[in-house]
């Protein structure tokens, strides 16, 4: 009897062993595979696309943010009344019936009809209760201030994978920070498609986009754009630009240019408008360059403000060329203060001869001429200064008054900003802080790039420029009651080896209040037709904007006139 008992016991044990080993096989060896199979059957992978970060002005107002929009899709297999549906949708979606009808005739379960639908349109379609029509929520870029600072902001397009990608300006430069990182999550559904309360993959890898806080002052930006537009229309110009910067910190307070584009519909505008000309366009600055060269010469003590020009009684011959003043008026023995006041080209030739090529190149490099400023915008260019051996005497002479040398407007703004800031040249920047997804803000500190001149030289040059405003060609347009330092510019435009005699780039650069500058500004009016002179076009626009800024800052007049 005992052997039967033992035999039965052994068989039962063997069966248990087989069951347990099979359980071990399915629960340990095949666990991963079965889990994946299960997830495929009842779990769906959800791509978590984070919202793109906002771009906010200095007052916290979002100038680029996100809004909810919808993609309207259709399931043609569920739509029995195709004609009715086509008619109803074509009116609301503003699409032609043939296009919708073609989409609804496709042998598919899902067809996209239109993207970017706003909430009111979606509600209208919802009310119709059309079978087979659904919506997918999307986020699209929204610009509450419309085309304000469009070239500064850039725009958001698509990359080769169809994902959002920033191009140009801030959207391009800070694209990685703004877009964040997409993650994935597994969501478990029951047979009816309802979510089951089960643990969703917590570590989705999603990182929200960061927000940018700009140094741009919304009011000053608005003012600059309004006045620039008015100026371009009034003076019949092709285009124009304004840049305003705090010289003490390098913070850009406003940057405007026209013509511009609407970042919401960037595809409707020519690509040439996408780049910001204030940082991407090279031009010959003309007389707005004179304070830079003069400052270098004063700093190197090769001249003083009262040094008299010994070659200014008539046109100056240099290297086979004859250098004239802009109005062919000559002032024998003119001093350096008057050279800037009268914008005397022959006086600047004298300064360049006193300075010499070596010191001039060193001075210009210290002022940042020929190099990028490092502004945090996509697309900045520069035209490097020629090697020393490639300079002829006439090049040295013409460069002294801003011809024969190419710069970007931001180089001039930054260089003049150094004069306004006691000789310290600051790195310009548009972003003053980055707000991380957790709310913490990382500020961007001002950075001194160079010290081209001493504080004493800066003070002297400031007074020379104040005198130029009070007694120079633009005195008719100046703001009474304020000490404003500035310089006009009327630059000829090089075309095919010579200069266009009929068209100019008119400009005015300056800072105010002269004793404690709150802003430095450069206005450029490109090819004005009512008058070619900076004193008659760019200068009035400058003073118009300056008046607005001084009032906005609550700065009272300091001079009784």
């Amino acid at each position: 009897m005992s052997w039967r008992f033992k035999f039965t016991f052994g068989v039962i044990l063997l069966l248990f062993f087989l069951v347990i080993s099979r359980l071990f096989y399915w629960q340990f060896v095949k666990a991963a595979e079965l889990s994946a199979l299960g997830q495929l059957q009842y779990g769906s992978t959800v791509k978590l696309t984070p919202q793109r970060g906002e771009i906010r002005m200095s007052d916290g107002f979002p100038v680029a943010t996100n809004k909810i929009s919808y993609l309207v899709f259709a399931n043609p297999k569920e739509i029995s009344k195709k004609e009715e549906t086509t008619l109803a949708l074509s009116g609301i979606l503003d699409m032609d019936q043939a296009s919708i009808s073609a989409d609804l005739s496709l042998d598919k379960y899902w067809v996209a009809l239109k993207t970017g639908i706003d909430q009111p349109t979606k509600d209208k379609i919802d009310k119709l209760n059309l079978a087979g029509i659904g919506f997918e929520k999307q986020y699209s870029r929204f610009y509450p201030e419309a085309s304000m600072a469009a070239q500064l902001l850039g725009f958001v397009g698509k990359d080769e994978n169809g994902d959002d990608q920033g191009y140009f300006g801030l959207e391009g430069y800070y694209d990685r920070l703004l877009k964040g990182k997409a993650g994935t999550a597994i969501q478990v559904h029951d047979a009816m498609g309802r979510p089951i309360l089960s643990k969703i993959n917590e570590n989705s890898g999603e990182i929200e986009g960061s927000n940018l806080i700009l140094s741009i002052d919304r009011s000053i930006q608005f003012l600059a754009e309004e006045k620039l537009k008015e100026g371009i229309e009034k003076y019949g110009a092709q285009s124009g630009m304004v840049g305003v910067m705090d010289p003490k910190t390098g913070k850009i307070l406003a940057m405007a240019s026209f013509p511009s584009f609407d970042p919401r519909d960037f595809q409707d505008y020519p690509e040439t408008l996408y780049k910001d000309p204030f940082i991407s366009d090279l031009y010959e600055p003309g007389s707005t360059f004179k304070p830079i060269v003069m400052s270098a010469a004063l700093n190197d003590k090769v001249i003083t403000p009262t040094t008299q020009c010994t070659i200014c009684s008539g046109p100056v011959p240099v290297g086979g060329y004859s250098i004239h003043t802009w109005n062919d008026k000559y002032y024998p023995n003119i001093n350096m203060i008057e050279v800037i006041q009268h914008s005397d080209n022959t006086g600047m030739v004298f300064v360049s001869q006193k300075l010499g090529l070596d010191k001039m190149l060193k001075g210009l490099a210290s002022f940042g001429i020929g190099d990028t400023t490092g502004v945090d915008l996509q697309g900045e260019v520069s035209s490097p200064l020629k090697p020393k051996n490639d300079w002829y005497a006439v090049d040295v002479a013409t460069s002294a008054f801003g011809q024969g040398i190419s710069v970007t407007p931001i180089e001039i703004l930054d260089a003049i900003g150094a004069i306004a800031n006691g000789g310290k040249r600051m790195e310009p920047h548009v972003v003053s802080g980055v707000e991380a997804p957790d709310g913490s803000v990382v500020g961007i500190s001002p950075r001194v790039i160079d010290n081209p001149i001493t504080p004493e030289t800066a003070k002297v040059m400031t007074e020379i420029m104040v005198n130029a405003v009070n007694k120079g060609e633009a005195q008719w347009a100046r703001l009474k009651g304020y000490r404003i330092a500035g310089k006009t510019g009327t630059a000829s435009i090089p075309i095919a080896g010579h200069y266009d005699p009929t068209q100019t780039i008119a400009s005015f650069v300056g800072f105010a209040p002269a004793d404690n500058p709150k802003f430095v500004m450069l206005v450029i009016i490109n090819r004005p037709t009512s008058s070619i002179y900076g004193a008659e076009t760019a200068a009035p626009v400058f003073f118009d904007i300056a008046k607005g800024i001084l009032t906005y800052y609550g700065i009272a007049p300091t001079v009784q006139e």
Partner: protein, 94 residues
């Protein structure tokens, strides 16, 4: 022997009790997917409403909009301005 059996019985009873409890809890939460779905829908609706309202607030408070509304209402650019206190000179006459 009795103690052994007692321990075994207690073990079996515990296993049965926990199984029953597990069944009870799972049964209760099996339908919470419906609630979860409702909460998610409500959250989605509120987030959408919030986003739409934020969009409207930004549009209305944009300087572009305020400027055009001001022009419609007859506001004009500031003309001349005056300062209540005159600038202080560097030195006074006695």
């Amino acid at each position: 022997m009795k103690k052994k059996y007692l321990f075994l019985v207690l073990l079996i009873l515990t296993v049965i009790g926990l199984s029953v409890l597990r069944t009870f809890v799972l049964n209760n939460i099996s339908t919470s997917g419906v609630e979860l779905g409702q909460i998610q829908d409500e959250l989605d609706t509120l987030q959408t409403q919030n986003a739409v309202l934020a969009e409207q607030v930004y549009s209305y408070s944009s300087l572009t909009n305020i400027s055009s509304k001001a022009a419609e209402m007859g506001f004009v650019n500031q003309g001349s301005q005056f300062v209540l206190t005159a600038p202080v000179p560097v030195a006074y006459n006695q």
